[in-house]
């Protein structure tokens, strides 16, 4: 996997100096790093509960989760 940054020009993504193989599948991520969002108290509580879950060992890896998904 490689990560490249481009610009939207007239509705098309323009990448400069990034060689991409014909037919390569790409994922488009619109940068959100400069954006911010707020949360309700309930959402914050849920996030805190999830943080606590991981800290006490109640977590799975990505591979474990993917293996458990329905096919």
């Amino acid at each position: 996997m490689q990560v490249a940054t481009g610009t939207v020009v007239n509705g098309k993504i323009v990448l400069e100096g990034v060689p991409l193989a014909e037919g390569a599948k790409v994922t488009v991520v619109t940068r959100g790093a400069d954006e911010s969002f707020s949360l309700s108290e309930a959402q914050e509580n849920a996030l805190l509960a999830s943080i606590e879950e991981i800290e006490r060992g109640a977590y799975v890896t990505l591979e474990e989760l993917l293996a458990s998904l329905p096919q």
């Binding site: 959100g32 790093a33 911010s36 309700s40 309930a42 879950e53 991981i54 109640a58 990505l62 993917l66």
Partner: protein
């Protein structure tokens, strides 16, 4: 070097539930949840700074990434060399609404415990129940039509969708997305639950389309939004700020309405 990924038990459950639903109801892309989640988490492990930042202070460092095809947010943060995936939440249903309902529907003793902030397990199980309610309403809307919903379900659906869009991207996003198909109905729903301030703001936002009105047809309305002038967009942004500055407690009003309806 890629970060090591840890996914909370709760987030893992949310991903599994979403994947199960998607498998049954989205036959054109039954594995989209797993595919998009895996690719996005892989990307975040390499580039964790691409997500939007949480602006508050209770859960510092939290970011989120939107998966546009499936309509879910990944909430995460980096701790040392680990990428910790905390939640996997739908964009169309604000947790605030569900939580307010959870409190309102709980027996009094449980409700008071929840307010003491030490009953996460109990609160979550109630929220799970309400997620089921929300799923049922959304399933009915998807599989039949908006008209198939009961009146109280329509109001719940309309207000929840509106709140999600406004919290996410403001009035512009509301009109650009499918929630804007029901602009007139949303105004009525807001007035029904007593959210007069938000109803007034939505009416003012709809006035931005003058001399026409927001088309109930999604693609036609997206064309209208794309053709907005800077002045029209500025008016919508002004209304966004008014919504943020003085907002009806939509979650509470909705909970009160659902209790009494």
């Amino acid at each position: 070097m890629a970060l090591r990924v840890k996914i909370s038990a709760r987030a893992a459950r949310e991903v599994r539930q979403a994947a199960e639903w998607w498998l049954v109801n989205r036959t054109s892309a039954p594995g989209a949840i797993g595919t998009d989640f895996a690719e996005s988490v892989g990307l975040l492990a390499e580039q964790p700074a691409i997500g939007a930042k949480y602006s508050g202070s209770r859960t510092p460092g939290v970011r989120r990434l939107f998966l546009s095809r499936v309509g879910y947010f990944i909430y995460y943060r980096v701790d040392g060399t680990e990428l910790r995936v905390l939640e996997f939440w739908r964009s169309g249903m604000p947790v605030a609404s569900i939580s307010a309902l959870a409190v309102s529907k709980l027996p009094p003793n449980i409700s008071s415990n929840r307010n003491a902030s030490a009953t996460t397990t109990t609160a979550m199980s109630s929220e799970d129940f309400l997620f089921s309610l929300v799923d049922e309403i959304q399933r009915k809307q998807r599989e039949s039509s908006f008209a198939a919903l009961l009146p109280r379900e329509r109001i719940f659906y309309l207000v929840s969708a509106l709140e999600a869009e406004l919290n996410n991207g403001g009035f512009n996003q509301f009109f650009f997305n499918s929630a804007g198909d029901f602009t007139t109905e949303s105004v009525e729903a807001l007035r029904t639950i007593g959210a007069d301030q938000t109803a007034m703001l939505l009416e003012q936002a709809a006035d931005v389309f003058r001399p026409v009105t927001p088309s109930p047809n999604w693609s036609e309305r997206q064309a209208q939004v794309n053709a907005f002038t800077e002045a029209q967009n500025a008016t919508l942004e002004s209304l966004d700020r008014m919504f943020d500055a003085y907002r009806d407690n939509l979650s509470r009003l909705l909970a009160n309405f659902m209790e009494s309806a």
